[in-house]
């Protein structure tokens, strides 16, 4: 059975732009609603693949948020992705335990992960110190916004993959 043209076009974009060489199950699970799939891919692309924060850092945010929500899918996918991209295994081991690395990252990256943790844990009560730290590390409004949108995106991804019981891809 041939795919819906919107699904086919979206899959093609995902294969070309995501860098995994395949379409992850989280997107395949959305194909039943082609325009929902297309909209979510555009959102993912805008948050993770575009913008000024490094993709590596946004994927680390994905792990931090997924650990807060005890959601295995995005945590394991991004742990695999970051391993492939050469991030230190010690740093990834700390992240996978739901902690933030005390060393091994530039101060700006550490400050971002602390802010992401605070936003995912208690979004209505983010400590002022968490915002002060990212400001001190040189982040401007747009970059802080990118951190918060990454937290929002991965929170939604966690809810979707947990409720839909999305299986981990054969990575």
């Amino acid at each position: 059975m041939s795919l819906h043209p919107v699904v086919e076009g979206t899959y093609r974009e995902i294969e070309a732009e995501l860098g995994f060489g395949m379409v992850p199950n989280v997107f395949r699970a959305m194909a039943v609603k082609p325009h929902f799939l297309a909209a979510n891919w555009k959102l993912f692309k805008s948050v993770v693949l575009e913008g000024r924060l490094p993709r590596v850092l946004k994927e680390m945010v994905g792990i931090v948020v997924s650990c807060v929500h005890d959601s295995p899918y995005a945590r394991d996918v991004h742990l695999h992705s970051l391993t492939v991209q050469g991030v230190d295994r010690d740093v990834l081991a700390v992240l996978s335990r739901g902690e933030r690395p005390a060393s091994g990252l530039a101060p700006a990256q550490q400050a971002v992960l602390e802010l992401a943790y605070a936003a995912a844990t208690k979004p209505g009560a983010i400590p002022a110190a968490a915002f002060a730290a990212v400001r001190d590390a040189g982040l401007d409004d747009e970059e802080v916004f990118e951190v918060l949108t990454a937290v929002q995106l991965f929170t939604a991804v966690n809810m979707f993959t947990d409720t839909a019981a999305v299986k981990l891809d054969a990575l």
Partner: protein
């Protein structure tokens, strides 16, 4: 700068971010863009609150970014270039390093080398406190400088090449534009001669052949003009009219059937319903002509060409499938790139512009053109346009 081993950052985690920063710098079209990327993104790799890029201008002076960076610590820069090594403001008297960036108290100047000897500029990092820069890992810093120097050299080469390519594209656009008028005049003349021919005249088929050749040349000229415009960075401007895609396809098929070489056969599975929408009819016709002529060109004698049209949700879909030589897997990712031709085309002539132009036309309409192909078995091109 003194640095205790305990204060040094492990490099490996920063290297993944450095690779991303390098990729962004390398993809930058010019040096100001590299400086802008460093200004906003170097902080993910090195603990700096301010980054300036200084590059020799080839006339004995320097250019500095961000714009108006007269505040760079010029003496530290001179020292770095003289010593060919990294210096901090701690190694020169503060009064000769007049800094004017609010809050920045400590500077680090890193020379950018082109090869082992030539210094082409410097990377200047500023921090609000010395303790910030003392956490810096020198390995990451030198890799950053090395990669920025490469990106700067590449941007200089690209800027020079771009200027040459722009001149060439402008000339091609002018020549092609000027070709259109005589082609249109010749076509009009042949059409008039055709009207004057008595029924059954021997000349008629010859004149029709001439007219088709002129139309092909006109199509090629339009294709080259679109390619020149796209190369110059201009978006395609569509001249949309409301029409039936099915009728447009039928007209293209009628011409193919007139010119069908012996041994070929067409299998048609066309939508019985009209496919109404708003299209640039001339360009969409060019896409059909291109797909159909490719199907014939790359088919073996006796081959069958299958054409299907229909509706899929909000899109009209046209498929052209052949049982020809197919496209090697290695060429598939590049099949819609300008001037690319597959490795197995041999002596079959082509410009490498047709499919690239067809994909751009589909995209400009909000649709897409895709291909599935197996070398030696055949190719199926699928055009989808919103209705």
């Amino acid at each position: 700068m003194t640095q205790s081993p305990a204060a040094r950052l492990p490099t490996v985690a920063s290297l993944a971010t450095l690779a991303e920063l390098t990729a962004r710098c390398t993809a930058a079209p010019d040096i100001p863009s590299i400086a802008a990327i460093l200004s906003t993104s170097a902080k993910w790799v090195v603990p700096a609150h301010h980054v300036s890029l200084v590059v020799r201008d080839g006339r004995g002076g320097f250019m500095a970014w961000p714009a108006g960076t007269s505040i760079v610590p010029v003496h530290a820069l001179a020292l770095a270039l003289e010593r060919r090594t990294t210096v901090t403001t701690g190694t020169i008297p503060p009064e000769v390093a007049p800094l004017a960036v609010p809050g920045i108290t400590t500077w680090l100047v890193v020379p950018l080398f082109d090869g082992a000897i030539d210094v082409i500029g410097a990377l200047i990092l500023g921090a609000r406190a010395e303790s910030y820069l003392t956490t810096l890992d020198s390995g990451v810093l030198h890799l950053l400088a090395l990669n920025v120097a490469s990106a700067v050299r590449m941007a200089e080469l690209l800027t020079s090449e771009r200027s040459a390519v722009q001149s060439r594209d402008a000339m091609v656009a002018t020549v092609v534009h000027d070709l259109r008028n005589p082609l249109a005049a010749a076509s009009a003349l042949v059409e008039m001669m055709l009207e004057d021919q008595p029924t059954g005249s021997m000349m008629t088929s010859d004149l029709v052949a001439v007219l088709h050749s002129l139309e092909s040349m006109g199509g090629l000229a339009e294709e080259m003009l679109d390619a020149a415009r796209a190369a110059a960075g201009h978006a395609m401007t569509l001249r949309r009219t409301v029409g039936d895609l099915g009728a447009l396809l039928s007209s293209a098929l009628a011409q193919v059937q007139r010119n069908l070489r012996s041994g070929f056969s067409l299998q048609l599975d066309l939508s019985s319903e009209p496919l109404p929408g708003s299209f640039d009819a001339s360009r969409v016709r060019r896409v059909f002509d291109n797909l159909l002529s490719n199907a014939m060109k790359y088919s073996r004698p006796g081959g069958q060409i299958r054409v299907h049209s229909g509706r899929a949700g909000p899109m009209a879909v046209v498929e052209v499938a052949d049982a020809g030589i197919g496209i090697p897997a290695a060429d598939l990712p590049n099949v819609f790139k300008r001037f690319h031709r597959a490795g197995n085309v041999g002596t079959i002539r082509g410009t490498g512009l047709g499919l690239a132009g067809a994909a751009e036309i589909a995209q400009a309409h909000g649709g897409y053109l895709t291909v599935e192909s197996i070398e030696g078995v055949g190719s199926t091109f699928r055009l989808a346009l919103p209705l």
